[in-house]
Assembly symmetry: C7
Homo-oligomer: 94 residues x 7
């Protein structure tokens, strides 16, 4: 298990199979980098200058869209994840 | 549905058909980039250092003008949206 | 109507007709960019980190001087306005 | 009248007539830029993140010294003034 | 003993022996820089602008993953450690 | 009299006569810039975001050491002073 | 005596005699810059935006390790010291 710190979340990338107009499935390198993910773990939130911890707006299981190139890729037990700060998440899809 | 996070809003671009002085409708590439949008969803607001969440000033249905080049374009269910921070919104038109 | 957000104000530029020493009225391009405006709408103020909204010092109808090049020009119902943050306003003239 | 906003002050420049060692009065361009001024109007002060307005330390009539090149020159009713932030004022003389 | 200050932690690097596809153990310089560590000491936390000290989320014995290139290497009693700020720690592994 | 504003102090430079190893007194340009001064006036302190004014740690008469190149030189009644922010003062000597 | 201001500390450098593998004592210029020091005086702490003074974590007599190149060298009564901010101190050794 990965427990993110502060206002971070761990996500799994969601990649939709993509076909070109002519129906050909594109190999990985020809597709745009994904912007969609599924939240698998959330941190306990940042602490304000007032000393209060602010709970995250997203929760486990949410599908989200996030800024391209945000976050850090990590490999854990053979699987790839992305660790993002909540501020890099644009919206919850649902 | 797209639920924006924090002080973000989701907008649809409003593009007015435009004619030149001589009455010719300009094709898309000849027009300036739109600065007007309609709010379709609002976030729950940013949290101050005092731990309080500040509700947004705009609400669903508002027509707004915003800084050119602000925000991130997202495609959702075949439609294009723009996700902005409220601070990039200049005024409500109404 | 344009309702500015936060600590923004909408102003109309005030341009005084200008004559040179010899009494010739200068065409537009020969004059300096205006620094004076009339406030036509004010926002509800910024929110401090303490969660309080701070009312603006200027109000509708005030004539103000502001930093050159500040703000964003917008066209609304065929008229040109400038949207400024209150921090770009130097003083109220009156 | 000019009423400065926030922590700004309006000052008139104080230029002392200056003689060289040999007693010759120097023309303007040969003197250093002035650093001394007289306060003619003060703003109502900045608002802290706690929502409190902080009154200025200087008041009308004070002679002050300020950082060279600070502030914005404005012309009002044919006279030249300088609008400074209080943080650009180094000390009160007197 | 090393007692880190503020929101810092002292970690020992965790390096897993690595084999290439063909089973050859790679010498040190051919492996990627480690991103995993074990916490050996934690600071007492940063002090917020409200004057409160915020305890760290990690504790002694935790295995963590952290941003590559973060922190400062120190040698103490012949052993190498890394001193990081908690904000450079991405997640606790466990 | 010069009354510094905020967290500023007015100091007089302290220059010790300096001899080289062979006992020759060096002319001014061959000495390093002084880092030592005597406080002649102190401001009433900065105001925190909480609205409180923080009294300075130094007081009139203190001998201090400060960061080289910090501050602004001013001439007042024929004498040279330096106006520093308290944050440029490293320590009180005494 | 040197009394450091705010969150500063005065330290004496601790330099260990160093031998190469072959037992030769290295002259000064061949050694790395020291990172270890002994605290000889501590300031009374920084003041938060809430108006509270935060006491330092280190105290007189502590041996510390600090970021290379941090601080300002000062000479006082013929001895060399380094004045650091507490935030440049990584850990207390003890």
């Amino acid at each position: 298990m990965l427990k993110p710190l502060g206002d971070r979340v761990v996500i799994e990338l969601v990649e939709s199979e993509e076909k070109t107009a002519s129906g050909i499935v594109l190999p990985d390198s020809a597709k745009e980098k994904p912007q969609e993910g599924k939240v698998v773990a959330v941190g306990s939130g940042r602490v304000t200058e007032n000393g209060e911890r602010v709970a995250l707006e997203v929760s486990e299981g949410n599908t989200i869209i996030f800024s391209k190139y945000a976050g850090t890729e990590v490999k854990y037990e053979g699987k790839e994840y992305l660790i993002l700060r909540e501020s890099d998440i644009l919206a919850i899809v649902g």
